[in-house]
């Protein structure tokens, strides 16, 4: 199999909502499945952020709360479709949204992450 070394990778960010009934390790296993998919396919996970249990604005699949997770990553554009099929196949994920980051969005996400980390560092220091 010709190993396709792909240097051109776009920046993406995905927010997905998992059902609140998941146990802790089931949740980490689900997230790990997606980060592994990215790493295996030559992508790079930049950051993983979970917003915890949040109230949904309208019920999804008869549930009013959901566990939100944000994934910032780089991936080969051709593989994003396969990545999303993984989400569709997974019953634990109620909803997901992948967006491509242009340069303004990328600058914003980097700045947002610094502000977030800055805050946590301040509390630790």
């Amino acid at each position: 199999m010709h190993l396709k070394i792909n240097l051109f990778m776009n920046n993406y960010e995905t927010v997905f909502i998992t059902t609140p009934v998941l146990s802790k390790d089931e949740y980490t296993r689900t997230v790990k499945k997606y980060t592994d998919f990215i790493e295996k396919n030559g992508g790079e996970v930049i950051s993983k952020e979970d917003w915890g249990l949040k109230q949904l604005a309208y019920p999804i699949q008869k549930k009013t709360t959901g566990y939100y997770t944000l994934l910032d990553f780089k991936l080969d554009p051709l593989l994003v479709k396969k990545f999303e099929i993984e989400f569709r196949r997974d019953e634990n994920v109620m909803r997901f949204l992948t967006t491509k980051l242009d340069k303004h969005a990328l600058a914003y996400s980097v700045q947002r992450r610094e502000k977030l980390n800055g805050k946590t560092q301040k509390t630790e220091a």
């Binding site: 604005a57 939100y68 909803r95 949204l97 914003y108």
Partner: protein
């Protein structure tokens, strides 16, 4: 008591004049509207959760489109409701 016509204004009452509307994104130099924080997007949505028109928000066309895209993404992620009452 001073009758209506005796009241003298120091300067002319500015009733008809309308506050000059400006696009807040151009003025503040915001380049990207984030669909992930709903509190910012709430300003562009009325009580029923519907998008406010440009003549009310005063946005320029380019940024009004970005706002509407961001609101629709936020609705998809259940950060904003599609329709509700007394949102604010």
């Amino acid at each position: 008591m001073a009758t209506q016509d005796e009241i003298k204004f120091l300067n002319a009452p500015k009733l008809g004049e309308q506050k000059k509307k400006y696009c807040r994104f151009k003025k503040m130099g915001i380049k990207y509207i984030d669909y992930k924080d709903p509190d910012f997007l709430l300003r562009f949505v009325n009580e029923q959760g519907k998008l406010l028109p440009r003549r009310i928000t005063g946005n320029s066309l380019k940024y009004q489109r970005k706002v509407s895209q961001a609101v629709k993404k936020a609705r998809h992620l259940a950060l904003l409701p599609y329709v509700t009452d007394l949102l604010k």
